[in-house]
Symmetry: C2
Subunit: 396 residues, 2 copies
C-alpha cells in the first residue's frame, strides 16, 4: 500500500481529533493540582486517582507537552496555566540540595526517591525550554540552558552519578545519546542554543559507531566501550521500540537538515532492523525485549505489549514514509497504527491502556503511574499532526 | 476431599521421584564449575548455558540445597563435593572488602553488582550452616554463626545499608522478619545457635503485630512503622505467594514447638487470607501481585504466574493439612499441585519453567537466570518429602 494525499489528510484529521478530543481531555484540566502545583497523574482507566504522589519525570513531560501544545497547536490559556503549575512545582520541590533532581515526590513536594540517572533533568530541561518560549521569559530560558549544561556534564562524565555496577564490565547505553539528541532538538526548537547542532552530531555519531550493527542487522541497547557485544544476558537484551525511538530522533534530524541523505539512510536502517526483530508476527504489535541471539532474556515480561513502543513506531514509520516515499513504511505505519488504536485505545474513557499481554488482552487498567502519563501518546499524536500538516502544505 | 494415608504415601513417592530423578539431575552434576568453583546455573530449557555469570543469592541457595540433601536424604559424595564447590566460591569471591557480600559476580568471581539488601548474606548463612553440619567442621560453623550475627545486625539496624528511599515515608517490609525466621530455623536445625528461638519469637511477633490484618483478612507486604497501611501504590501492593511463604515458616515453627496452637492458627489465617487474594479463580494458579483494594498495581506483569509462589503454596497447604487435618487444605494442596505440575513442569527436559502468562501459556523458557536456580522447586520437593516421611511414620 501507499498513502494518497487524501489518505494523509484523513490521517492528519484523525491524529488531531484523538489528541484534542480524546487524549488531552483525559488528563487536563482535572490533573492540575490547584493546591500544591504540579499534576496528579496516577489514574485508573476512568480517571479516578490511584495515588497522589508525583513522578518527577512525568511532571516534566506533562509541562513540556502543555507548553508545546501552546507553542505549536493553539494559544490556549488553560494549557499555559497548566504548564506554569508544573514548571513552578519542578523548580520549587524537585531539586535536592546537591542540585540533582528527585525521581518521586509526595503531593506536597517532599522527596521519596532519588535515582542514579539524570532523566528527571532532561525532562525538566525540555519543559522549561518550551515554557520559556511560551511566555518569552529569558530567566527561565537561562535556567533551562543551565540545566541542559548539567545534563551534558552527566552524559559525558562517567562516574559523576553513583554507579549501579562495578567497573569490571564497563558498558555504554544507547539511552544516553538518544535522550540527549531529543533534549537538544527540543532546546533548539524553542529557546535555541548554539551548542545543539554540534552535540547532536556527536551523539548521532556515537549511536552509529557503537550501537548500529549492520552485519547482524541490529541496534544494540548496551555495548562494551569499544562497541563490541557483551555476551551476557543484560548485554544481549534488545529493546526494539526504544531503538526505533532513536531512529525517529535521527530521521527528525535528517528532516531538519534539509533531508540529509546519510541521516535518512541511518534512521531507516535502524527502523528496518528493529521492526524485523520487534514486530510480533504471530499476534501483531511490538514485543518489549528480545535477545540478540534469541536466547531467553532476564525479564520474564519481555513479550508484553506496552503502549509507548507503539507510539514510537507510529512516529518513525510515518516519518520514514514522508521522507522516502517507500511503500513499506506506509504499510508498517498502517499495521502498527491499526494494532495500537484497536488494542490500546480505551474507547469508553479515552486515552490508552498501558499494558497488554502478548495476545493483545488487557493486563491492567492504569492510565497513569510512576512511568506512564501524558507524554508518549500525546507526543505521538502531536508529532504526527505537525508532520502531516507540514507535509500536506508542501505536497498539496 | 481429604487424603488417605495411601494417598499421602503416593504423594511422598511422587515428591521423592521428582526431586531425585527430575529436578536435581537437571542441575547437577553439570552445573558445578570445575574450573573456578561455584555453579553455572543460568540455563535454558534444555540445560544449555545462557550466561556464565554467577548470582550470589543462587550460589548460596544451591550450596544449601546440596548440603541439605546430603544431611537429610542420603550421604551422596557427589552432593557433598558439589556443596564444597559453592561454599569455597562464596567465601573466596563473594565478599567485598567492607564485609558486605556482592549480588552478581563473573564466572571467575569478579564483582559486577552489589545491592542495598542483605539476602546474599542470609543465603550464605544457611549454606555454610548446612555444609558445616555435613562435614562436621567447627571453623565453618563459627563462620556461619558470625554471618548470622551480621544478618541480625542488618535486620535490626535501619540505615546500616544505603537507603533506596528517603525517610519521608518510612516503612517496614515483611521480607526482613520472614527471611530471618527461615535463616534462624536453618541455623538451628544444622549447627544450632542458642539465639535462634528468641529471635524467631520476636520476628513472628513482628509479622503478627504489624503485617497481619484480621479486619480485612490480609497479610501486607509493606506497612508504616506503626503497622498502618500506606495508601500509595507501593504500600498497597500485596505478594500473596510471598505472604504464604511466611505462613509456612510459621507453621514449621508451630510443628517444631510441638504443634503450638497459636502458631498453627496464625499460619493458617495467613494462608487463608492470601489464598483468597492470590488464587486465580478464572485460570487457576497464583497471581503474583494484587492491590489490597483491588486498584492497579505499578507492576504491569502482576498477573503472571511465577514458579516460586506455587512452590511456597504447595508446602504451606500440605503443612496446614498435616497439622490440622482440615480438608480445605487437602483440596487446596491438590489444586495448586495439579496446576503447577501440569503447567510449569517441563516433561521433556525436567525441572520447571519459571514464567507463565496469566492464562497458563509459557512466557519464556529460562530454567535459570539471576533469580531462578536450584532452590524453590527442589526445596519444595525436599520439604514435602521430609514432611510426609515424618507424618507417615507417626501415622502408620
Amino acid at each position: 500500500m501507499s498513502y494518497s494525499i487524501k489518505d494523509l489528510g484523513t490521517l492528519r484529521d484523525f491524529y488531531q481529533q484523538q489528541l484534542l478530543q480524546d487524549t488531552i481531555p483525559f488528563w487536563f484540566p482535572r490533573s492540575i493540582d490547584e493546591e500544591f502545583g504540579g499534576y496528579l497523574l496516577m489514574r485508573d482507566k476512568d480517571g479516578s486517582l490511584i495515588d497522589d504522589d508525583k513522578a518527577v519525570w512525568i511532571q516534566g513531560r506533562a509541562a513540556w507537552m502543555l507548553s508545546t501544545l501552546y507553542n505549536t497547536v493553539a494559544p490556549e490559556k488553560t494549557w499555559l496555566a497548566g504548564a506554569k503549575a508544573g514548571i513552578d512545582f519542578l523548580r520549587k520541590y524537585c531539586f535536592d540540595a546537591d542540585g540533582q533532581m528527585f525521581f518521586h515526590v509526595t503531593r506536597d513536594g517532599k522527596p521519596i526517591r532519588k535515582r542514579r540517572y539524570f532523566f528527571s533533568e532532561t525532562f525538566a530541561t525540555i519543559a522549561t525550554a518550551a515554557y520559556a518560549k511560551a511566555i518569552g521569559d529569558e530567566e527561565i530560558a537561562a535556567f533551562s540552558r543551565e540545566l541542559f549544561s548539567k545534563c551534558i556534564t552527566y552524559a559525558t562524565t562517567p562516574g559523576l552519578l553513583p554507579a549501579k555496577y562495578t567497573d569490571i564490565r564497563p558498558g555504554r547505553a544507547i539511552g544516553i545519546p538518544m535522550i540527549m539528541i531529543n533534549t537538544a532538538q527540543q532546546v533548539r526548537s524553542t529557546i535555541g542554543d548554539s551548542r545543539c547542532d554540534q552535540w547532536i552530531d556527536q551523539w548521532i555519531h556515537e549511536i552509529e559507531t557503537y550501537f548500529v550493527k549492520h552485519d547482524i542487522r541490529c541496534v544494540m541497547e548496551t555495548v562494551a566501550p569499544d562497541g563490541s557485544i557483551i555476551d551476557h544476558i543484560d548485554g544481549r537484551t534488545l529493546n526494539p521500540g526504544h531503538a526505533i525511538e532513536g531512529a525517529w530522533f535521527i530521521l527528525h534530524e535528517a528532516q531538519y537538515r534539509g533531508n540529509d541523505p546519510h541521516l535518512i539512510e541511518l534512521g531507516c536502517q535502524m527502523l528496518d532492523y528493529m521492526w524485523e526483530r520487534g514486530w510480533d508476527k504471530e499476534f501483531g504489535g511490538f514485543l518489549y525485549f528480545k535477545d540478540v541471539y534469541n536466547k531467553p532474556v532476564q525479564e520474564y515480561w519481555q513479550d508484553m505489549k506496552f503502549w509507548w513502543p507503539h507510539n514510537e513506531v507510529i512516529i518513525a514509520t510515518l516519518l520514514a514514509y514522508t521522507l522516502t516515499g517507500n511503500d513499506r513504511y506506509a504499510q508498517w505505519h498502517k499495521m502498527v497504527h491499526d494494532y495500537a488504536y484497536a488494542h490500546f485505545h480505551d474507547k469508553e474513557n479515552g486515552e490508552w491502556f498501558g499494558y497488554l499481554h502478548r495476545d493483545g488482552s488487557l493486563a491492567q487498567t492504569a492510565k497513569g503511574n510512576l512511568y506512564k502519563g501524558p507524554f508518549h501518546l500525546p507526543r505521538q499524536e502531536w508529532y504526527c499532526l505537525q508532520l502531516l500538516n507540514a507535509y500536506l502544505k508542501n505536497n498539496p
